[in-house]
Subunit: 659 residues, 2 copies
């Protein structure tokens, strides 16, 4: 898979320039200085470039070329791709920019490029990519000298890619691959991640994306990768302003940030908020220390200990419990003014020996030991870093602060112990790494419940009675109801349903019934006739429903352009708009996933507050069933608002379905 | 004010040791190497220390000593303080630890120290402080060599203080003062901040606190300081675990993080979440660039631009609008593949000249220009830093990323342009600096409304009728009500109030009426008698209220140990517990402050959602009046839950008051 790009035996650089400031020259030199196979510069004007004979075209080389790196003016790219086909080239990297990211005419050129490449059987990365670095060659136009190692970096943006390469160089982080995705006209992020998933040298993958090229493939194939190794995702385009910028920039649809987050969770990836989080996470992933969610803090500064404990609580980690035996032992070994609890405060006059002593006592506790050292007159970071290094493999993480923190960090890096400058960074990175979850496969294929198709056939919107029937077919309960257009029938149905009632207009097209005064609550026997008269002036048909009390939950369904059917769950009623406390899932979801989403969006809290014991299980079941229905029937938009939940179950009270 | 500590003419170091690893020796050497006045080592065993003649005691010096720095074993501190009194010393810094931070016996020793010092007229910092640095001497036990400048640092924790000193040294940040507060037995953070507020060399103050020593003084006096210069606060002890650690550590009551945040806002300070935020803020405060809330991003990396725009939106700043004239000019000056919008994306091949060109075009726009450079083959950070420096004074902030970022940051620092490594850091710091507000003085002295005292006199809890009368005296509306103990009176009052009614039990002691089944909703004429019979079995007296529809708001009052009366406002009903979306204010608050708190806690959103136009003004008025009542009547706890708000106003429906 993608061998033609990542494992070439010979490489041609098309557009190889003699001008050392030009991209085409820099790439050639980078390839020449790293690749041990044959390298062919292609330049239609000169005879040699950088001491190698130059060829007029790919066809003119006359020998087998596996990979062509193309850096020619954008109007020449199509011809080069045609040549590549004729010359039997199987892989290409199109560096040239000016395609989809610049607007409609660029997009048309990109389509043409894709067609030509497909026709000729050439797989290609780009266009508008900054290139790749593999264990055997560097085909980028940045100068980098990174160590070989286990981290793979995939970046959609060139600048972001260059940043991460520089970061790897500065921090001595070893890389297996670097891949600039560019516009993903042919090879996409999913292709690249699958390749890296199978690559035995790659231990973990870090990805910067502005959009996903193919949502369903992402959801289906990425779990294969996350099962083998950790994959972290940073997404650009969170805000509207950011999304607009992403649109200009790589021509990708930025899509919904929240859905991307749901997708990453669903495929078992690690989601990070910003670049720093991504880089910090890399430190933790790249280390060999066995880390746990229980964290013990050891410090010579009470203040730093306080801040670290704050951050542990904020990030869903736990302060490690200090067993009495260990506490007694620490009390014996530490000076009187030290504190043997968590945080272990060694005191402002602690030296490196005292750190070593404390570490020996706690070394076998099954927890992460976050060792914070503030360089003071009595202790240096380097001394403590040495003490930590000697204890490596015991779940250690270092935070070093002082004039010699760089040197101390290098000592810890060399020992494979993650080193940070702020305890907040350490804690967040540990949390992101440990709190990722198993991927969930979305394998259910649409299998509509018998009878469902008959209800929806040929309709764009469903009337109340159809919507209720459909939900009941899917096992979602609705309160006793009737739709009537006659006052006598209304009275009869009201008696059957029972009081108090809710009466609402029931028009064919969906409207906001409350906003236009089309709802009557607390309807008793005496009011049925009068209300029917009022409401039937607004709509021929009137809905009668048993009035229920309980917590109002909102369940929404949308069809996302990228990820397809998705479900939203949150607190209902006005709180949907006011709080926007809604969490997302990609349909279909299981009851377990429904429960997770309900927890995130505080629905579970609302159902269980004041010990009321409302039916959480039924709610999760209803949400999961609605998510199945959305998939089966290709629902475009759905609002169940509210789903009323009480001790008897979860009941869909108001439903709007667009097909 | 505090001249005896900060402006001494002569200094004695008591406990000056010959051992160069001991705190008492390090302090002496630091003082000797910085102070130009007389220095007297005091040591009762040797005749000289570090080449100076040593004295047996303070009294034995026989010359005027202004400041005594005390670093002797804790059991000797009291005697030294007595000596100081006899020798006419007026100021002291007690370095020695082992006092309140270690428990009860230490606390008693600290009280004794305070008494002795007061009796002798000695003002002192500490105990358990790491000392101070002033423009004329260094009396700490860390080795620091910081530049002189305009930033003052105040730290309660020694380790945190050392950290900030190291940071100043590493970044070349110039300091006016550094003050380690220690246990604040005598001189408190308020004293120190007032001194620094009046100090003409101090431009801005950065404070790390774990607790406030005296809430009312903090609230009353800090506004004097923030009116003159920016003051930033970082609080340790946010979480329970953190607060517990803070308790161990400095013996201070960590107090409520949320109330501290409210207090900082109220006094016009800047509140930061963590150490990094504090340090980044210092960069912005320390620069001379005129910054604005509208931000224009200029970058050579689309990806970085996208992330920066995201962060701008997240931090209540605005993307600057690009005027068409400027956009046209940029289009002329920039290459075709660049984007002249916001972010201005100069393209991956931009060089420093292109940056300079773009900066010239946008220089006079009234906005912050966030210039992001990713070092690439065609451009280095240093080159762009030079271009930025030449344009300084135009609202510039730099973000430099690449191998030469350190050098570039130094160039920007030297030019007085804030320099960052992550655009997130830059954006957050700008936001914290610009989004601080004017201090609010809490000057209202308790002036109970006539008649209020008569109602509350001698009571611990108020019965429903007293609570309603009290609220009405304070101008807070309540729905029509009656408390009755007779079925016939109930019927008569019900007719007067109007239907539908709410009927509730009305016992003398407060109970959760709903939880024990003591509430009947939607009561019509027919039900009054029956419900009265049911409820009067549970409590002799029964409350009748007109039933209102509207949004439920929660208003709470507490009396905080540190800050005194405070008010909480949030969405009411079950959402108080579920969402904990509650914001805090320190009572009394104005209507304007009430409005701010209501905005923070989404109450305003709820009142205005779906264009319903519920009465926001009346709600703010009611909240402000309740906050006055809390202060006037010394209310211990108060719950108005709910305050029901609709188009007719805000009505207190259920009230619990503890005096």
């Amino acid at each position: 898979m993608l061998e033609q790009i990542f494992y070439p035996v010979s490489i041609a650089v098309v557009g190889a320039s003699r001008d050392r400031g030009k991209v085409g020259n820099i790439i050639l030199r980078n390839v020449m200085s790293t690749f041990t196979g044959k390298v062919y510069p292609v330049n239609d004007k000169v005879d040699s470039v950088e001491g190698l004979p130059a060829y007029r075209s790919l066809v003119g080389i006359g020998e087998q070329v596996d990979l062509a790196i193309i850096s020619v003016p954008k109007d020449a790219v199509i011809n080069v791709m045609e040549d590549a086909g004729k010359a039997g080239v199987k892989g290409a990297i199109v560096i040239t920019s000016g395609f989809r990211e610049t607007g409609d005419s660029g997009a048309r050129l990109e389509e043409e490029l894709k067609t030509v490449a497909n026709k000729n059987g050439v797989r290609f990365l780009g266009p508008n990519t900054m290139g790749i670095v593999t264990p055997s060659f560097n085909a980028t136009f940045t100068y980098v000298d990174v160590k070989h190692g286990g981290i793979a970096i995939v970046a959609q943006s060139g600048g972001m890619g260059a940043y991460m390469l520089t970061w790897a160089q500065r921090t001595g982080t070893g890389l297996s691959y670097f891949v600039g995705l560019g516009n993903q006209a042919d090879v996409s992020e999913v292709d690249v991640l699958r390749f890296l998933g199978e690559d035995s040298e790659t231990k973990a993958i870090f990805v910067y994306l502005e959009g996903v090229s193919n949502g369903p493939r992402f959801l289906e194939e990425i779990p294969e990768v996350t099962r083998r190794k950790p994959v972290a995702f940073l997404k650009g385009g969170a805000s509207n302003a950011g999304a607009a910028a992403a649109g200009t920039h790589t021509g990708s649809l930025a899509g919904s940030y929240e859905l991307f987050r749901a997708a990453v969770k669903s495929v078992g990836g690690m989601f990070v908020d910003d670049l720093r989080d991504l880089l910090n996470l890399a430190k933790v992933v790249n280390s060999n220390e066995p880390l746990r969610g229980d964290v013990l803090v050891i410090t010579n500064s009470g203040g730093h200990g306080v801040l670290a404990m704050d951050e542990i609580s904020r990030n869903s980690l736990n302060p490690a419990k200090m067993p009495p035996r260990i506490q007694s032992e620490l009390t014996l070994k530490l000076p009187a003014h030290a504190s043997p609890r968590n945080p272990v405060d060694l005191g402002g006059d602690a030296n490196a020996e005292l750190y070593a002593e404390a570490l020996r006592v706690v070394q076998d506790l099954d927890c992460t030991k976050l060792v914070i050292v503030q360089a003071l007159a009595t202790v240096s970071c380097v001394e403590v870093a040495r003490a930590i290094s000697r204890m490596r493999g015991k779940g250690l993480v270092g935070v070093v602060m002082g004039m010699d923190e760089d040197a101390a960090a290098r000592i810890l890096d060399a020992a494979g112990v993650p080193a940070f400058r702020f305890s907040e960074d350490a804690v967040r990175a540990i949390s992101r790494y440990l709190n990722r979850r198993e991927p969930r496969l979305k394998l259910r294929s649409p299998t509509p419940v018998p009878g469902a198709i008959d209800i929806i056939e040929g309709k764009q919107y469903l009337r109340d009675e159809d919507a209720f029937k459909l939900l009941e077919l899917y096992g979602v309960r609705v309160p006793p109801w009737a739709v009537v257009d006659d006052p006598n029938v209304a009275m009869k149905e009201a008696e059957r349903i029972g009081f108090p009632l809710v009466m609402k207009i029931s028009p064919d097209e969906p409207v906001h019934k409350t906003d236009i005064g089309g709802v009557r609550l607390n309807v008793e026997r005496d009011n049925v006739e009068g209300y029917f008269a009022e409401l039937s002036k607004m709509s021929k048909r009137v809905l009668l429903q048993r009035q229920l009390a309980g917590v109002e939950v909102f369940v929404g369904g949308i069809r996302d352009q990228v990820f397809g059917p998705a479900i939203l769950v949150g607190l209902g009623g006005i709180y949907v708009e006011v709080l926007r406390s809604v969490s997302y899932g990609l349909s279909p979801i299981s009851e377990q996933e429904a429960l997770e989403i309900m927890s995130e969006s505080k629905v579970v809290d609302a159902l269980t507050a004041r010990k009321r014991g409302y039916d959480v299980g039924s709610t999760a079941r209803a949400v999961a069933r609605i998510s199945n229905m959305i998939v089966d029937l290709n629902v475009k938009e759905l609002d169940v608002n509210p789903l009323i939940v009480n001790e008897n179950g979860a009941f869909a009270v108001d439903v709007r379905i667009k097909l």
